[in-house]
């Protein structure tokens, strides 16, 4: 007969069949942040698809619909939505390129994976800031 395993030194929380509501209590390492943001940004872009296609359509039909599109995009609330979508696009793009590189078994070791996860934020967030300044007319 096998002997029972030694008692754990501390009472660590144990997660099985993880529920979405438990995620908020995790201490997320950097690669996990990139991962969940990749999913959230992807879902947001999917939900925004009709809005984006509609804007694209308006921008191409005629001069007057182009103006209408510009009018719609000039409201502060729409600008905030657009900024969120720009962040989502940039994060999804940069994190996606990271995943393509990881698929080639490059940068998979934990220290490198932490580093290149941090690099995703270090690239996507400043780009989002530039887009925000442009969107709200700083330059």
């Amino acid at each position: 007969m096998s002997t029972p395993a030694a008692a754990p030194r501390r009472n660590r929380p144990e997660f099985r069949n993880i529920h979405v509501t438990q995620i908020v209590r995790y201490r997320m390492p950097m690669p996990a942040m990139v991962s969940i943001m990749h999913r959230i940004s992807g879902a947001a872009l999917f939900l925004a698809l009709p809005f984006l296609l509609w804007m694209f359509d308006l921008s191409l039909i005629s001069e007057s619909t182009f103006e209408r599109m510009a009018m719609v995009a000039s409201g502060w609330f729409v600008k905030l939505v657009l900024l969120f979508l720009i962040w989502g696009f940039l994060h999804h793009l940069v994190a996606g390129i990271r995943y393509l590189v990881l698929d080639l078994h490059v940068g998979l070791d934990l220290p490198q994976a932490r580093g290149n996860a941090l690099a995703v934020f270090a690239i996507s967030l400043p780009l989002t800031l530039v887009a925000a300044l442009k969107l709200f007319g700083a330059f």
């Binding site: 979405v20 999913r39 992807g42 879902a43 872009l45 999917f46 698809l49 009709p50 296609l53 694209f56 359509d57 921008s59 191409l60 039909i61 005629s62 001069e63 182009f66 103006e67 793009l93 996606g96 390129i97 995943y99 393509l100 698929d103």
Partner: protein
Amino acid sequence: MAFAPPPAGIGTKRLVVGAHYGVGNFLLQRLTALVLVVFFALLGARLLLAGPLDYVAWASLFVPMWMKVLTLVALLALLYHAWIGVKDIWLDYVKPVWARLTLQTLTALWLLACAVWSVQILWRV
């Protein structure tokens, strides 16, 4: 009916039944991602070089046939990429079969509609 032992290299942990185990979608998710990276890099570079665009300059980008085809291919890649990703989200979080199938069906129909709409948008220019 006896099953033959799995051939060498297949492994002993799974039953070889001819299912694809998602390998096709795994590869297509990455292939479509590459298409999108290239397309948005080219479009982004073109727009940054051009500076602010008025309607005529913007719309004339999409007039040549090759640009319509390129953009449509990129949009179809985007829609298929979205299909794989959104389906994964439903599979991860929605457990009741009826809800999962309903959401998957609606997602597929919606993305299909977006594909048709994309053709209309591009070929109206």
